[in-house]
């Protein structure tokens, strides 16, 4: 990082925290080496879609201009691309050739490097694991300026600490990963209503065979309807299931939220009204659907800047996982606490994870719940309380969504936290790659 540039105010997707940073946007890989050797500490940043301080520091280097395809094997379905390529750009290239992402989160506007650093998961986690499961190999520029090729078999310690390592182990230069063969850009789906929490958890087990499964859950409902949900299931549609339309749909248009909503727009009443309407949208208990992939995977991407509905103060996305063992009880206890508080959002998502390899990845077999909550004065102490319950059930918090966790919670809940910190100390003695998240969680 060079020092001569003026700082810019910068924030990630949830508008919290907001920081001053010097931002570089290099065009070439060699610039990264120069920044590491000559400059001030910094953190790499992709498209800024994380919900917190993971890609914020006084020095920020954007990967967005390093977005080229380096290799593509159309028969085997393996692509190698640079770190700053957006998943949307990858899809635009591979889908017309009959391939899809092996794993995708709920937005396609993240970079490949970000997908690795967060080790993102999707609606198929119970079947296909997280993004790291599909990496053939990647090139990492270590904080000491060495380029290392790594994979699950080669330099595997660096590999596993980089998957989910929040950009702290080195700069991910390019990633080679395998794709999923598809016959169309459509998803045949099924939506099933569950009247309460136990029913939805049963449904997850019952419909395990589906490739994609996720549930929208009403966090505000108490009493008999506590935990009422809609389970959404999906499979890639076969060619013969698409009758009249093009097999690969065009990229759909987008709407935009043009300004930050005033904070009074979202309140207990408006959220309850939204949730009631959303739950009532399906009259029948079970509905079959055929939708373009974008509508199924990225319903919110069609509304650009949807984060602005939470206002200028920003919001927090709270996502935790509790292991399968005692998971039912865990999710019950935590959801009850959330519904009592009444701060739930219209974006609460419940998902059952399958088993997972990794050292510092968030994902582990069990139940994960994610919800957005606008920031208010009492929120952080409430979340600290939730953290403790999550910890008691052997769970943990997703760093990509985190802006406020206390360091002791991280160190007590991530099983390899100590090894991770030691690894970082050994490989980055001069503390070249640093983020506010790393400082807050006492990782560097």
């Amino acid at each position: 990082m060079t020092k001569n540039l003026a700082g810019t105010s910068i924030t990630n997707w949830n508008n919290y925290p907001r920081k001053e940073a010097v931002i570089e946007s290099p065009l070439f890989e060699e610039d990264l080496t120069r920044f590491l050797i000559e400059g001030e500490p910094f953190i790499m940043r992709g498209n800024g879609r994380c919900y917190g301080d993971a890609s914020l520091y006084s020095g920020v280097v954007s990967s967005l201009k390093l977005n080229r395809i380096l290799q593509f094997d159309e028969n085997a379905g393996v692509i190698r691309c640079q770190t700053g390529m957006l998943l949307s750009q990858v899809i635009d290239f591979i889908l017309p050739k009959g391939w899809f992402l092996p794993v995708t989160p709920g937005t396609k506007f993240i970079t490949v490097g970000g997908a690795v650093a967060s080790d993102v998961h999707g609606k198929n986690h119970h079947k296909d694991g997280s993004f790291s499961n599909h990496i053939v190999s990647m090139r990492v520029l270590t904080p000491q300026g060495k380029i290392v090729v790594c994979s699950a078999h080669e330099n595997s310690e660096l590999f596993w600490f980089t998957c989910g390592g929040m950009g702290l182990t080195g700069i991910i230069l390019d990633v080679s990963f395998s794709l999923k063969k598809v016959e169309s850009g459509f998803i045949t789906g099924k939506q099933i209503k569950a009247r309460e929490l136990n029913e939805i958890l049963d449904l997850f087990d019952q419909f395990k065979a589906y490739t994609y499964s996720v549930a929208w859950i009403d966090c505000l409902k108490k009493g008999n309807s506590f935990g009422r949900s809609i389970l959404m299931l999906g499979e890639h549609a076969r060619k013969d299931e698409i009758k009249t339309r093009k097999i690969y749909p065009n990229t759909s248009g987008t709407l935009s939220v043009p300004f930050n909503f005033p904070s009074f727009v979202l309140n207990g009443y408006s959220l309850k009204a939204f949730n009631a309407l959303y739950y009532a949208k399906n009259l029948k208990r079970s509905v079959q659907t055929l939708t373009p992939y974008e509508k199924f995977f990225y319903p919110l991407d069609s509304i650009l800047n949807w984060n602005r509905i939470y206002g200028v103060n920003g919001f927090v996305q709270y996502q935790f996982v509790v292991p399968q063992k005692n998971g039912r009880e865990g999710i019950n206890t935590i959801l009850k606490r959330i519904s009592e508080q009444g701060w739930g959002s219209f974006l609460a998502v419940l998902k059952q994870f399958g088993s997972q390899e990794g050292l510092i990845s968030f994902n582990t077999e069990g139940y994960t719940l994610a919800l957005d909550i606008p920031i208010n004065a009492k929120l952080f102490s409430f979340l600290d309380e939730l953290d403790k319950i999550v910890k008691e059930y052997g769970g943990r918090i997703y760093l990509t969504k985190d802006a406020r966790m206390k360091p002791e919670i991280f160190h007590q809940t991530y099983p390899h936290a100590e090894d991770f910190t030691k690894f970082l100390a050994a490989t980055d003695p001069d503390k070249k790659l640093v983020s506010y998240l790393a400082k807050r969680l006492e990782l560097k």
Partner: protein, 243 residues
């Protein structure tokens, strides 16, 4: 299939130009200093478009190498885009001749020497398009950047004369005048958004200008009016202004 030669290919505008022409199935020759930096771009353009992309070492400042550079091209281009430039450090250049000479050489002499070689070849074969990326800074010398401005002014005049000379041979010459561009050259300077073009916008304008045989193109039309006003301020007043 057309062959496009881009001189100064490591700039964002140049890369955006390559993207657009490659998507139209043209072969691309990328020429720049330390051109290996463009290896990822080469791979990407080849994989996406099934075209041929070559990386050529080229130094705008080394004018003596230019004729040889052009001679050794195995395939001669149909379109040449001369997009290299050097803003330099104006204040340093006032006292440091080396910096001053560098600004003048790259922006004027370097462009003239390589385009002379191109023009001779094009004229012989009676075909081709030459695009020169000049600058609004060349429209009138101002105290803040008249060294860069005077070199670009010379380049603009050169392109105008070249257009005039090559017209009868069926060769078209385009002069592009970007205002501010949101790139490395202006990194750290905050420029008004209304007056600042994105590299992709500049690239799209260049392709459009070539297709429609435009002569002189301001990338953002507002700059034509701004420069019209600046050019028409009487010198007696202009010399007192802080521009």
């Amino acid at each position: 299939m057309k062959n496009i030669l881009i001189l100064g290919a490591t700039s964002e505008v140049a890369i955006a130009v390559a993207d657009l022409w490659a998507a139209r199935s043209c072969n691309i020759m990328l020429a720049a200093r330390n051109v290996n930096r463009l290896e990822p771009v080469k791979k990407d353009l080849t994989i996406r478009n099934g075209i041929s992309v070559s990386l050529l070492e080229f130094d705008a400042e080394k004018t003596e190498s230019h004729q040889g550079f052009y001679n050794q091209l195995q395939v001669k281009p149909d379109v040449v885009v001369c997009v290299f430039g050097y803003l330099g450090d104006h204040d340093l250049a006032l006292s440091d001749w080396q910096e001053c000479a560098r600004i003048l050489t790259i922006n004027y002499l370097g462009a003239v020497s390589i385009l002379n070689a191109v023009a001779t070849d094009f004229e012989k074969n009676k075909r081709g398009v030459i695009v020169g990326v000049s600058s609004v800074a060349g429209d009138r010398g101002r105290q803040s950047n008249y060294l860069y401005g005077s070199a670009k002014s010379g380049f603009t005049a050169y392109l105008s004369g070249l257009r005039n000379r090559l017209f009868k041979s069926g060769i078209h010459v385009v002069t592009i005048k970007p205002g501010f561009i949101n790139t490395r050259m202006l990194a750290g300077l905050s420029t008004p958004a209304m007056l600042t073009a994105q590299p992709k916008q500049v690239a799209a304008k260049i392709l459009k200008a070539v297709n429609k045989k435009k002569n002189v193109v301001y990338v953002l039309p507002v700059w034509r009016w701004i420069m019209l006003i600046i050019k028409n301020i009487p010198e007696a007043i202009f010399k007192r202004l802080k521009l």
